[in-house]
Amino acid sequence: MKHFFRPVTCLVMSTVTLFAAPGLHAQGEHTPKIRASAIRVEMIKSDEIELPAKFQVALYENVIQQLEKKASFLHVYRDGDHNTANVPDLVVLRSTVRGFKEGSERARQVTTVKGATSITVHCQFTDNQGKVLLERDIEGKVRFLGANLKATNDFAKKAATVTRDSFSATGRT
């Protein structure tokens, strides 16, 4: 019986090591998080891409909602909020729509493979002085179930995850 478990244990341990090693290695490569006390989310811009107003507003509102839920900032401020004037370590999130393809919920449900909606947004995190701290292109999609606006929620979740992974709140453990 002992002879049976020994190779199995070795196999399990080597498998675990095989899968865990890249993760541990990647963790070591992580850049330190940028410290900031609050974030201000600017209204989504779509200068080059014609984006329906409902998508623009849904992107903006969902990002704020997800940042409040996921990110570790003390405050999430909205575009134009006067209270941000004297906030130290404020991060400003400026988002510009780079790509938009409005699919069809009907096509998705009937064919499963067609009718996906996707939005690509360029997110730029800057400090108060306008110095760029982080830039990412984040894509929101809805492939199978749900209305087209669900793509904005997908984008918001990804944007909040990027923010959480890149920033840590000052004054918060």
């Binding site: 014609e50 107003a53 409902k54 507003v57 849904a58 903006y60 909205r78 449900q109 209305a147």
Partner: protein, 269 residues
């Protein structure tokens, strides 16, 4: 017999003429009383320019009070019965005394529509869904939208939310469609046998969307998206604009637009 009949007919004929003289009298309101400035240096008898309003017409008459009864200065706001002639107005005072005064001026006032008259009558609450953005309300909450008292009210099962029309920076309408069978049942129906779920997905209903951007007291920008029955969003938008909301797309696009999809969809400038 014929003479008697003729006499009776003559009496009846004069009756309407007698009664008509009383019906010429109409109620008028004294709107202003000003001392009359005589052209010459004769200031012995004080007289007044009295403004009388009858309907849309204002008459200015010259009134010279009888000696010892100089109460004209205090008559503004009073009503009296007058009969308007071509150059004079005959009036009856409170004591029943009749008098006649010359008309100096006659002005017809234009009827002005107040902004309240221009605005459409308030609508009944419209069943709608707050898709996203309404503060304190979960996404896809069903309720009713009504515009009254300069505010948009969204009434739902857990309370009421209001947005002041004056705070709205942009109100945009759009169109969309949704499944007729939605929610959990709609999701379960996707797994129906022999592709029946997919067939059910073909049945969709058109809806309007109403997107609002507004600022709160701190200047912070908020956005709300409502879904409502087709044809309702534009009327809500017009009502909001009438009550002080702003929009970047003031008029709906002509229905003869390029594509059927864009017929009701306003594009951002």
């Amino acid at each position: 017999m014929l003479k008697a009949m003729g006499l009776i007919l003559m009496c009846l004929g004069t009756f309407p003429a007698l009664s008509q003289s009383r019906s010429d009298y109409q109620a008028a309101t004294i709107t202003a009383v000003l001392p009359h400035q005589p052209a010459g240096s004769d200031t012995s008898a004080p007289s007044y320019d009295v403004s009388l309003r009858m309907g849309n017409t204002v008459y200015v008459v010259l009134y010279t009070p009888p000696l010892g009864l100089d109460m004209a200065m205090y008559a503004a706001g009073h009503e009296l019965l007058v009969s308007v002639g071509t150059t004079t107005i005959t009036f009856n005072d409170l004591l029943g005394n009749s008098g006649e005064v010359p008309i100096i001026n006659r002005t017809t006032m234009e009827t002005r529509k107040t902004p309240a008259n221009d605005s459409p009558p308030p609508q009944a609450p419209i069943k709608s869904t707050a898709l996203v953005g309404l503060a304190g309300v979960k996404q896809n909450t069903v309720g009713t939208v009504a515009v009254k008292g300069g505010e948009l009210h969204f009434v739902h099962s857990e309370g009421t939310s209001g947005i002041a029309a004056a705070a709205m920076e942009d109100v945009v309408t759009g169109d969309d469609s949704q499944r007729m069978i939605r929610g959990t049942l709609g999701t379960l129906s996707m797994f129906g046998p022999y592709g029946s779920g997919r067939a059910l997905s073909l049945f969709r209903s058109k809806i309007d969307t109403l997107t609002i951007q507004y600022r709160d007291a701190d200047g912070a920008l908020h956005g709300v998206v409502f879904a409502m029955p087709v044809g309702k969003a534009e009327s809500v938008k017009q009502e909001l604009i009438a009550q002080g909301a702003h929009t970047r797309v003031p008029a709906p696009r002509d229905s003869s637009a390029d594509s059927p999809h864009s017929a009701n969809l306003e594009q951002k400038p």
